[in-house]
Symmetry: C2
């Protein structure tokens, strides 16, 4: 559905409150009272079958009785009456429903919730909720919620999946001096979800930045698409990323794919800036709602004190924006605006003597200079200088530079009440200001990170065309027909092969003679492995023999493998023995996938062996994955230099590896209805131009 | 010098201000004014040759004129007069000098500074400064500084190496609601340094916690000893840890030993809690000044909202205190104090309906229960409950539990003004309270970390007795006599060997015949390497041949190595060729050392090869290192499971490895006057009970 449809819900010209009450202990009273107090200028229609007047407003017995049009209806009646109310609202032509009432999906009442949504959709109505606090907008002067007051005005919108937190954050906007234009409680997301709101808020003129408090997204792909398309910054704080209670997994990849990693990958791919905690959510909302992205890495820090300058320099390195010295000409000009013992390098240290003029002149010069991509101005309160004057000097310089809105600036004042007031003034004048230098640096680093992500998203995506889905499905069907939900290595390699992954040649031998014949066809040396759907850990079962050099060895191995397998599991269903090309040694990597419950097919890449097992040095991407993204995966693991070539070794074939990752990702997208988890492990990567080989393969199917 | 000597300086009964002034623009005026305003109850003696009265106080022409005793003198006269003043003060019998005056070591005037200190010491006086803001104490009602006012009262002391930051933090105590008992500006540390103050503050009854803002420590060992002995928590924020401008190093270990890592190791070994940033410095000071250490890992979180509970759970994992479910009996009792849809697991979710009673009852029960080692109480402000009532319920429960002071508690309220006021009340009642759940968890995790470190420090240290320092010094002397500041591999191995490190047997062959003879003595296969002080990178020069199996091979290798060496560097001074036992393959690790300019001899340990080169997976300890500490080094690197045995491999000989680390550490302590940097790389570690071998050795000497 189009975002336009949400206008009636989010920006109503008239609003009805179903369940409006004269009893101050009822939410139906609070909501009417809040709408009045907020100063809403549209029509307000309390609806209550028993009342004539509520809080000085005419009350209506039913929706039908209301004379004019009703854009939005706030529903506060108990859950058992909601379906009836929705039907009435539909008949009245209401556009959107704000269902505050709880007692739906969150307590297991999913059927009622679905019925309510279906009914609303019959009439083309959208639902916010149920189980929400409501929605608040400063520009609409509308507090359609039971949160006590409209938030401190700001330019961003905050959407929260926790109602309690929304109320607390509403009140905290005043103590933290970080305002919001809108607060939206999203509750059960029975209909309108994060994606819908991102899409709508992106078009809303009163919103400059979209902040989300997320506990869990239902449709990860829809969310990613909406966030990717958004032209405004999207910030997310994802709660619930600890391992506390994570489920067991059947594959290597599955065991490594925690919520933190998959959400992290999805946010990055969708250009969503991730907040680290509640304070950071406010801090980033302030910066991203007021300042433009930072389009290069040249950060300049201006300070009046060594201490805060050093702390900011440390923070810049920590937040991936290490300082560089300014060019000579910049240094020379800056030298004019500080005493001889100041420093014009970076941080630019104006010394504790710096007042209005020096702050003004150096800020104006630096912010105007092409070399600077972003600026952090620090002030450490002294007994000799007035914080408000410094703030005014900074602001005037920024205005005069003509660069406000073109590159970002953040400020930090460390001090007492006077500094607090100066920072408040700066924020009111749209300059983000923070009480500690690292916070100002963290905020500007988020503006840089946002630009980097958007840059990557704008890259064209290439497509993979070598797939043969039918062959893959045939191999899967064979396992399904056999009543299995995992593929044998041979079947898994057939699937991989159908997507162009360079697997080692592998045949199934059902007898010793078979084995000899196939071994000769492949050519010695070979590898032999047990093929049994009941033996997943082949090595543990003594079911793997490598480097078999001749016919005698092959016969020997065949017997030993079968004997071992039977000893390991007497009733194992044994398909035979895989006869396999022995791939030459190469750098071991692992490719793998999970079918994430939120984001669907998701790729993992890492170095193999102990790197994955011990160091867990892996990276994720929601599939599909372009070749460029795959190259980025290859370069972002800690062990990346190993593939680039260390200790005199030749670089590995990263181009072919990136193509393989991309093809693998295409495979898990195409077969997302079938594949639950998979691993290609190890994959042996050779020198540049020499490609790679998938030596082992595992596919776990979705349970059907 | 004993800490007692500082009493006169830090807790003076009378104070003189040399350079006191009637001119309000002078520091000499400000200091007198501040001392009066602060309410100081001792005698105040302004000293000024020209004035009779300053700010209503009788002024003295000179120190000698003052009738009574003078404990401390604040010096604000220009630097050129300071030496004279110090002499006068000594004659007067002043105990301590607070030298605010700048223009000493910080601008290169080190000689003057040293002269002043020597003069003061002649009279047994101690110096705080020069180049400081002064010192402030709430319990003494003494603001002997030019910072505008005494800080908000608190229980901790803050010592700052940055004067500007001290003033700003002074003012920020009020806006952040984190008070301090004392603020001490330490400046150039010409005499009194961090160690002296830690020692003195540890005995000071009005101080419960010692917080340090450090830019650089002069004598790292002295600091560590003072911090180790302290019975009160010491917190440090170390500024200046970014790589920006780090120097080049001659060894592997040198290149890995940045300020962040060596300071981090030293803090950990000394039991110093490290603050991450300025906000964290305040947050930790609050918690560690008010609450006892957390003596176990069982953290319980009580909350009224899922949102903040989930954020706190994530934070607990991030800060190394992952939540466990409470035992059944605890859960059953808790169930009595919450609605049916609450949760008694952990976090304990009382739901948004929770008011005074539920908070009181559950807090009292949990905090009294033996299972809980620490408690975090969260409150998310609602429209239905009163923050101050909740705060009072929590405080009453804690009092009634009888466990306050025995285990720690922190609190977080998320909300507006009412929550701020409730938190302020809690802090006034000695319960640390924070505006976000992760901050409360971070604070309590620091109390846990503090206990863990103190536990380790209390372990007895064993000593190593196998060293033969004379042999080591002889090998070093050989190199020195040769005009070199690096040892050849053979010399380095002699040094290592003298400290019991199991080096591969290595002899120097000066001719082909020599080589054959020595090879036979060692037994084939052997390794041969060029020995030349001019060729440090032997492999690059084609100067290494391994796995030489017989006499012919040995002759061949001898010739090839010499030819290659000459081709590599025609004028290289070649000592000969090392004939060396070929150590069997083992797990490669690296041991190494730097002689840190602050902390002296410092050990490094890590896995070898790509682990150290690419992943930089190494850990540091200031030497000496006990065997237990060495075992901890072995277990704390990310690759630790590799030594513990992965993928079916036997565990490596970690006991012998820990002994070797410990001996190595002893060696660099004993030879700290000689050794600048060193590496044992690779060291091959074998299966348990089979020891290890140092295959290559490098020692760089201190330049003399």
């Amino acid at each position: 559905m189009e975002s336009k449809v949400l206008d009636g819900l989010m920006r109503p010209k008239s609003i009805a409150i179903i369940g409006a009450s004269t009893d101050p202990t009822k939410i139906g009273y609070t909501v009417v009272n809040n709408i009045i107090k907020g100063g809403y200028e549209g029509s307000i229609y309390p609806v209550n079958p028993k009342a004539d007047e509520i809080l000085g407003l005419k009350s209506y017995k039913s929706l039908q009785e209301i004379p004019g049009e009703v854009d939005a209806a706030v529903i506060t009646v108990p859950s058992k009456f909601v379906l009836e109310v929705v039907d009435e609202a539909g008949k009245k032509g209401v556009k959107g429903l704000i269902i505050i009432t709880s007692g739906f999906g969150e307590v297991g009442n999913k059927e009622l919730e679905a019925t309510v949504v279906a009914k609303a959709h019959e009439y083309g109505m959208r639902i916010l909720g149920p189980n929400i606090v409501g929605t608040l907008s400063n520009s609409e002067k509308l507090n359609a919620s039971f949160a006590p007051l409209l938030p401190l005005p700001g330019k961003g919108a905050l959407v929260s999946q926790s109602g309690a937190l929304l109320i607390a954050m509403d009140m905290a906007t005043f103590t933290r001096r970080v305002g919001f234009e809108k607060l939206i409680s999203i509750g059960n997301m029975s209909d309108v979800d994060f994606a819908d709101l991102v899409e709508w808020l992106d078009k809303d003129e009163t919103t400059s930045c979209i902040t989300l408090y997320i506990e869990g997204i239902k449709d990860g792909r829809k969310f990613m698409n909406a966030a990717k398309k958004a032209t405004k910054p999207v910030i997310a704080l994802k709660a619930g990323v600890s391992a506390h209670g994570a489920a067991a997994a059947a594959s290597h990849t599955g065991s490594l794919a925690g919520a933190a990693k998959v959400y992290g990958a999805a946010f990055q791919q969708a250009g969503v800036v991730q907040a680290t905690d509640l304070g950071n959510l406010f801090d980033l909302s302030l910066a991203l709602s007021l300042q433009p992205p930072m389009k290069g890495d040249n950060l300049v820090i201006i300070t009046n004190g060594g201490g805060v300058g050093v702390l900011a320099t440390d923070a810049a390195e920590r937040f991936d924006l290490p300082l560089k010295f300014a060019p000579k000409d910049v240094q020379e000009e800056l030298k004019k605006h500080m005493p001889v013992f100041g420093s014009a390098k970076n941080p630019v240290d104006l010394t504790g003597m710096a007042g209005y003029d020096w702050y003004h002149d150096s800020t104006k010069f630096v912010f105007s200079h092409d070399w600077a991509d972003g600026l952090v101005v620090l002030y450490c309160e002294t007994a000799m200088t007035e914080p408000m004057e410094i703030a005014q000097g900074i602001k005037k310089a920024l205005d005069e530079s003509g660069m406000l809105g073109k590159k970002p600036v953040t400020v930090s004042f460390v001090g007492g009440d006077k500094s607090e007031k100066a920072m408040q003034w700066l924020v009111e004048n749209e300059i983000p200001a923070y009480g500690a230098p690292d916070l100002a640096v963290h905020a500007i680093s988020a503006l840089r990170e946002y630009d980097r992500m958007k840059e990557i998203i704008s890259e064209p995506e290439e497509t993979i065309t070598t797939a043969n889905k039918e062959i893959a499905l045939k191999a899967i069907k064979a396992a399904r027909d056999d009543g299995r939900d995992s593929l044998t290595e041979i079947e898994a390699k057939q699937v991989f092969s159908a997507y162009g992954l360079p697997v080692t040649t592998t045949y199934l031998a059902k007898s010793e003679e078979d084995a000899i014949k196939l071994a000769k066809e492949i050519g010695f040396p070979i590898v032999m492995k047990i093929v049994s759907p009941d033996i997943l850990h082949k090595s543990d079962a003594g079911g793997v023999k490598v480097n078999i050099k001749d016919e005698a060895g092959c016969r020997d191995a065949y017997k030993t493998i079968l004997t071992n397998a039977k000893a390991y599991k007497a009733d194992a269903n044994i398909h035979g023995v895989a006869i396999q090309e022995m791939a030459p040694w190469g750098t071991e990597v692992i490719l793998g996938s999970v079918n994430d419950s939120t984001f669907g097919p998701t790729m993992m890449f890492g170095l193999g062996g102990i790197f994955v097992e011990v160091l867990k040095d892996v990276t994720f991407r929601v599939a599909p994955v372009s070749k460029k993204s795959a190259l980025r995966m290859i370069s972002e693991i800690r062990g990346a230099p190993i593939l680039a070539g260390v200790r005199g070794e030749a670089p590995r074939d990263r181009v072919k590896l990136s193509e393989t990752i991309s093809s693998y990702a295409q495979m898990i997208v195409d077969l997302s209805e079938e594949i639950s988890e998979s691993d290609a492990n190890p994959v042996l990567v050779y020198e540049e131009g020499k490609g790679l080989k998938v030596a082992d393969a595992r596919i776990i199917l979705k349970k059907k």
